[in-house]
Symmetry: C2
Subunit: 301 residues, 2 copies
Amino acid sequence: MNEEAIDRSQHGHLVIIGGHEDRENSKEILSRFVELCGGAGSRIAVITAASRVPDEMWHRYSTVFGELGVDGMLRVDVPERATANDAELAAKVRECDGIFMTGGDQKRLLAMIGGTLLDEAMHAALKNRGACIGGTSAGASAMCGHMLAEGKADLLPEKGSVSLGAGLGFVQRVVIDQHFSERHRLARLLTIVAQNPYLQGIGIDENTALVVERGVGIEVIGGGTVTIVDGRNLISNVADIPGGATPELIDVRLHLLPAGSSYALPEEINHPHQLPPQSTRNAPEALTDFLRNVTKRNPVS
Amino acid sequence: MNEEAIDRSQHGHLVIIGGHEDRENSKEILSRFVELCGGAGSRIAVITAASRVPDEMWHRYSTVFGELGVDGMLRVDVPERATANDAELAAKVRECDGIFMTGGDQKRLLAMIGGTLLDEAMHAALKNRGACIGGTSAGASAMCGHMLAEGKADLLPEKGSVSLGAGLGFVQRVVIDQHFSERHRLARLLTIVAQNPYLQGIGIDENTALVVERGVGIEVIGGGTVTIVDGRNLISNVADIPGGATPELIDVRLHLLPAGSSYALPEEINHPHQLPPQSTRNAPEALTDFLRNVTKRNPVS
């Protein structure tokens, strides 16, 4: 690694998208992703590993990134784990300015790339080059350390109905769900948080993204809302009830951040960053821990 | 009113039902209602005023109450407001042990009986005789002072999308919604609470009831959950955004009480009451204000 190549003014970004982002009209979210990668001249890897239709995914995103002016695209299909351990491919990804993970199945994505050279290369690009890591739908869920692997979206929380797996760990101490309001997934996010109050739940609506500028702050863009479920003060009988039962949950803290919400960490408000001006509002105390946590640099080193 | 008839050991109950209560099998909720009225020998008024098909409603509830052994039923149809101001009818209702309001439209119910002699008679029966007031669906929504009159059940909260009306006021400082999880009504309850943090939101699932023993405590029965939305610590931009926009909501407190949850007020735990034994668990602090509020005796005198 050439240390001189490191640009410390680039904090590195995550663009965590709830699925069904607009690709036809304003392309707001994908435009922002490209901008955070460095604009039209940037090198962007598209990882289709979550999907069983990689051709379709590559066509979809190479088209839209092309329309947004990007010509330095790298197609990364991962038909088997060995591909993700190809040193030459990993070296190319390590030099990218942006890495985008398509939708599909986050379990497939992790089965193919979790713990591989490709996984390492993504972290290195983020850490060393301030690259922008984007993911939509399954690609969003995969970003956290504890990944929502499977779960019913029932009307009510249900003990044991949701299972976690090991994710890519770009953010820690959170669990991310997508297509959130559209698929009525609050009950399953509450189920996870009830059983794992260590994790804060993040539910991202379709055509909506949580943009994280590492070490600095967050912004919500697109058309919907980011829901945060904080169970750290939770009082619950979940440990004592049988599987399949609905737990009593008292004192869950719920935050809804619609598109346009943005907050910088208090100590970063007057430093250079790429968040919009309204980010400099002081974040309410109830949101501060979430903000510190989700913006944390290199949680896995 | 014969003061000697007042039985102070009868605290008076509310049975607030989220609609679609079981009437075929265990009849758990309606059985409890009858029991709290005083059992098979009690006099129960059935108010069909919310419905435009009162014959069907009377048939439905006279059948099931009959199956539960009640033979002293009073049919109260209210085709026009004048009926609800009939002194003879009101006097009969005043002497009932239980009063049940069917589903339909809560706006119709209030338009017919709000502020009439019949309304007064219901309050008098509760206050003076410790009667049990039951209501399902529209009949549940109508029980609070600030009644959810109309509102879209959108995916996200939306400023101005829900309107309140004047309800019957058996409970104050809350707003009650029904068919809650089944119809995905959290967004509309959040909308109300965001605009009216004075009110705590209560969402009751189908075949689920919040049983209130006034001055004593609460119990959840049936098959679903009662959701409580507490916005008293809310930080929001709702006052500043245009109508139709989604407000930012930070620090909403959310409680889910599934069937089987029950709590008595701390000072009532060792006094005689009709709540189940598990009610004597100490209510968590986060729930205490709700508990005090919803069990308050004679909020409107």
